[in-house]
């Protein structure tokens, strides 16, 4: 059909050609195009003939539907990015200020970072997470690697666990962030398992089920845990529940991998939200933690993160860094600079840091307030059911308890 259409067009074009020059040009262009198409199709089979278009994931589909919807009253409750009270994106004021500084700084260049990232950044990031009094930092037992946001941290961590430590089994909470599974499977860990977490009947954590599943986990398992503001349920274990979890992790010799994407964003207090990670350290566990600055600094698309590992042996730590450098070099050589420069300037300047704390508290307060208001409105409407879980949950997401229908 393509050829027929273009043939008819050619005949028409020839008929309206005013002179020989334009006719020759027309014929030569057409011939080139025909030759090109013939070349493209002559091989017949394609090496990439998959006969399969993969459907976009649920979030992408919903977002596409949202943007296509012309209803003025539409509401976007899908994507995990902060909005202000007018539903608009809210770039943090401190980030704007820092970016202005960077542009005005004529000494700023675009040179490569090390494969493991900017050392000042990784040092500041791990100090933010583990706390200024962290013994692991003092004793130089912390290996920090700049990553392409939290996802990138999980990715290189999983790659290391799979290719160097030969892990194959990993556990995720049921439910969990929908990308956890993809990252680990794409990194080579094929045995995906879930531990019980959300109990729909009580709308709380199924601790008994969780602990039982961890006790039954094979010794060589990675356990993905979310440090705070669980995605998607918004339900975090209490401190007592964390101690029970750590007891089992220790008992079974399981390797915890904490996903910390909301430090500061969950409660408004960076120390409170980091409690879980710091507790793991205090208990003497070796663990890894994927840290992200996407939400708490609003740097979503700058892709800034850190993979932090607490390792009890300095020799092993050096080996670990060596292998991670190899993994990073095989994937993207070194991490992106701009986002990490923003984070570094914020963390290193007491003025910017203070302003950041206030910005984070603003975001967190608004989220808590709307949780309260939503619950109050539902209760005033006498909506059937108990809506306490909306305010009991924390962070960006809420598992409403609504059915699929």
């Amino acid at each position: 059909m393509g050829y027929l259409y273009h043939g008819l067009l050619l005949i028409y074009a020839i008929s309206i050609c005013k002179n020989k020059v334009s006719l020759y040009k027309l014929l030569s262009n057409s011939l080139s195009w025909i030759l090109y198409r013939t070349n493209m199709e002559s091989s017949g089979e394609s090496k990439f003939d998959t006969n399969c278009v993969v459907e976009a994931n649920e979030i992408a589909r919903l977002r596409a539907a949202y943007f296509a919807d012309t209803n003025r009253n539409k509401v976007d409750l899908i994507v995990g990015a902060y909005r202000d009270d007018n539903g608009n994106l809210w770039p943090l004021p401190v980030v704007r200020k820092v970016e202005e500084e960077i542009v005005k700084d004529t000494t700023q260049d675009y040179e490569y970072l090390r494969a493991l990232g900017d050392e000042s950044f990784t040092s500041a990031a791990s100090r933010l997470l583990l706390g200024g009094e962290s013994m692991a930092i003092t004793e130089e037992r912390v290996a920090s690697i700049q990553s392409v946001s939290g996802t990138g941290a999980l990715w290189i961590g999983a790659k290391y666990l799979s290719s160097v430590l030969n892990y194959n089994t990993f556990y995720m909470s049921s439910p969990t962030w929908n990308n956890h599974r993809s990252i680990f499977e794409c990194s080579g860990l094929t045995d995906a398992r879930e531990y019980r977490y959300w109990d729909p009947a009580t709308r709380s954590i199924d601790m008994e089920g969780l602990l039982e599943d961890l006790r039954n986990a094979p010794k060589k398992s990675v356990i993905i845990l979310q440090a705070c503001s669980h995605n998607p349920t918004g339900l975090d274990p209490t401190r007592h529940q964390w101690s029970q979890i750590v007891d089992v992790l220790e008992e079974r010799g399981l390797l915890p991998l904490l996903d910390c994407a909301y430090q500061g964003f969950a409660s408004g207090d960076i120390h409170q939200d980091a409690w879980t990670v710091r507790y793991f350290e205090k208990r003497g566990l070796e663990f890894m933690c994927a840290q992200s600055f996407a939400k708490n600094m609003g740097l979503y698309s700058e892709r800034v993160g850190c993979l932090i590992a607490v390792i009890n042996n300095k020799r092993c730590l050096l080996q670990y860094l060596n292998h991670m450098e190899n993994i990073v070099r095989s994937a993207y050589c070194n991490p992106p600079k701009h986002g990490c420069q923003i984070v570094l300037r914020i963390l290193q300047s007491s003025e910017h840091f203070q302003e950041w704390i206030e910005n984070v508290a603003t975001m967190s307060k608004r989220v808590k307030r709307v949780r309260r208001e939503l619950q109050e409105r539902l209760e005033s409407l006498e909506t059937p059911g108990n809506w306490n879980h909306i305010t009991q949950q924390i962070g960006m997401f809420s598992y409403t308890g609504l059915t699929c229908k």
């Binding site: 091989s43 278009v53 994106l89 542009v103 300095k314 020799r315 730590l317 095989s330 600079k337 701009h338």
Partner: protein, 556 residues
């Protein structure tokens, strides 16, 4: 969903030796910190089982115990944090490792032994001084750490059996350069452009683009997994030309990548997971040192074909054709689009045309690594001749583009991966798969670098400034090549240095042997890679005399 998208074989990689690992972890030695299953030290005999002791006096827990096995020691923690209220929270396993040592060993056992922090065993609270600095040596086999091995506490970790990985040749060079305090030092190792003062160069068009972006006050919302459509289109137009048929017909797909390396990796994953062809890639010999790592980590087999003729210091056309002729059908062949790294030797256009026809005839998948478009000759069209010719001849190429060198955005990691496909539908299905690959790696690409590139590419004024700057850069490199050659010849060198000016781009394959290269570094503080590659960008009018003199010295 993932299962539908991928072939199952993609997930069956990797060895798994749980049994071996299990044995080692279940037999900790309480005496000597060994994990040896042979138990030669008798550490696990019942008579040597650790005793539980009440807390005793602490000592400086960071002291090294040369003979004893230290289980720790220190004063009780007076921390009154709320954690203390939790049951068994920071209590430790009580053990007594070595009766001879008068330290308090209540806290967990040294390096490779036992566990910490279990509430079952009672014991006192963990303290900051609870550090075991070393491991007993004794007669027990197992890990024998050195005095630097400040093992702090606890059991044998998950990382204890890991061996050291190979160091990076180029980055190790830069580190050595940075450490050196010799005034004479010159770094001609790493491939980042330097101006004539040896300083990093930031493009003026980029500085201007930064100011414009700041003024626009754009947000930092997530961008699509494959980057923005606008950016990808601009990249492919730059590479293939605006009027190129794949662009007009839409039979291509493109994704923003983490610079050239990221684009290569995406391509490698695409081939490994999705290609029906032979999953083996052939590199030119020599090639960039990191190519093998990228593709091996993705699971492809690697092989090679001839590119550089050492005798003539030029492109081995016949050798290249002969080797490509033997490549099995539907394999992947990697080409450097221009400014070959490390040799600087590119085939002339006529030879590219022959290669293109041969590759088409053999039904091979060409993968172009284009890291220097515009940087090599100062002309985008010239530098992109090879991929454009291949496309014209009907090859469905893969392309990895980088803006690290030609826009100086090294650290921003901006690049683009694209594939020319046989149809628009095929392009759509491939793109949907690429999204899954990227989502499982880093979710979405960084925004800042791509905004800078897009700003320059779509603004005629900035683009003009860019082209002028590129022209100046490539001119400087061409001139410095001439200078270096002239100076070597003026020194009376009997070696033929013609190849210095024949080669193109950032790198020059000097023809120095490894021994000569090492001598240049050790004796003269000139840091270059052992294969004799020097980065011409590191050569300036101020150091060219010195470099020429030293090169002459090691080759006479």
């Amino acid at each position: 969903m993932i299962g539908k998208a991928f072939k199952l074989s993609a997930f069956s990689r990797g060895t798994f030796w749980p049994i071996f690992f299990e044995i080692r972890t279940t037999l900790p030695c309480f005496q000597c910190s060994s994990f040896s299953s042979s138990r030669k030290c008798g550490g696990n005999d019942s008579k040597n089982k650790p005793e539980r002791k009440k807390k005793g006096g602490g000592s400086d827990s960071k002291k090294t115990h040369s003979k004893d096995v230290c289980g720790g020691g220190g004063k009780p923690n007076k921390d009154k944090s709320s954690e203390g209220k939790l049951k068994g929270e920071i209590y430790t396993k009580g053990t007594s490792i070595n009766k001879e040592c008068k330290k308090d060993y209540k806290l967990g056992i040294s390096e490779d032994c036992g566990r910490l922090g279990s509430s079952k065993y009672g014991g006192r609270k963990l303290t900051s001084a609870d550090i075991c600095a070393t491991v007993g040596q004794r007669s027990c086999p197992g890990s024998k750490p050195t005095k630097d091995d400040k093992v702090i506490k606890g059991k044998k970790g998950w990382w204890s059996d890991v061996e050291m990985g190979p160091p990076d040749a180029i980055l190790g060079l830069t580190e050595a350069f940075n450490r050196s305090k010799d005034d004479r030092k010159v770094n001609v190792g790493v491939g980042a452009y330097r101006d004539d003062n040896g300083e990093p160069y930031v493009f003026s068009c980029i500085r201007e683009a930064e100011k414009r972006l700041l003024a626009k006050a754009l947000n930092k919302e997530y961008i699509p997994i494959v980057g923005t459509v606008e950016f990808c289109k601009l990249c492919v137009e730059l590479a293939l030309g605006e009027g190129s048929p794949p662009i007009k017909n839409g039979n291509y797909c493109a994704a923003q990548a983490l610079s050239g390396t990221g684009a290569l990796r995406i391509g490698a994953e695409v081939i490994q997971r999705l290609s029906n062809g032979n999953k083996e890639i052939f590199f030119p010999t020599p090639t960039w040192g990191n190519h093998a790592r990228v593709f091996t980590h993705a699971g492809l087999k690697i092989n090679k074909y001839r590119h550089y003729d050492e005798k003539t210091n030029s492109f081995d056309y016949d050798g290249s054709l002969q080797d490509i002729e033997k490549i099995p059908e539907s394999s992947v062949v990697l080409f450097h689009a221009c400014a070959h790294n490390p040799t600087g030797v590119d085939p002339p256009q006529k030879q590219w045309e022959s290669l293109s026809k041969l590759v088409k005839q053999k039904n091979l998948l060409s993968f172009f690594d284009m890291a220097y478009q515009g940087f090599a000759t100062g002309d985008f069209n010239n530098d992109a001749f090879a991929p454009r010719q291949f496309v014209k001849d009907g090859n469905q190429i893969m392309l990895a583009q980088s803006f690290a060198k030609n826009l100086g955005l090294y650290g921003e990691r901006v690049g683009c991966f694209s594939i020319v496909t046989s149809s628009k539908e095929e392009a759509e299905s491939l793109l949907s798969q690429i999204k899954i690959i990227i989502r499982g790696m880093y979710s979405s690409p960084p925004i800042h670098g791509q905004r800078l590139v897009a700003e320059v590419l779509k603004d005629p004024e900035l683009r003009c400034i860019w082209e002028c700057e590129l022209g100046a850069i490539s001119s400087r490199i061409i001139k410095i090549r001439k200078d270096l050659r002239q100076k070597l010849e003026a020194l009376g060198s009997k070696k033929d240095w013609k190849h210095i000016t024949d080669q193109i781009g950032m790198f020059c394959f000097t023809g120095l042997t490894e021994e000569q290269a090492v001598r240049l570094t050790k004796e003269f503080e000139i840091y270059l890679t052992k294969n004799g590659r020097i980065s011409m960008a590191g050569v300036t009018s101020k150091n060219v005399d010195y470099i020429a003199k030293c090169m002459h010295e090691v080759t006479k």
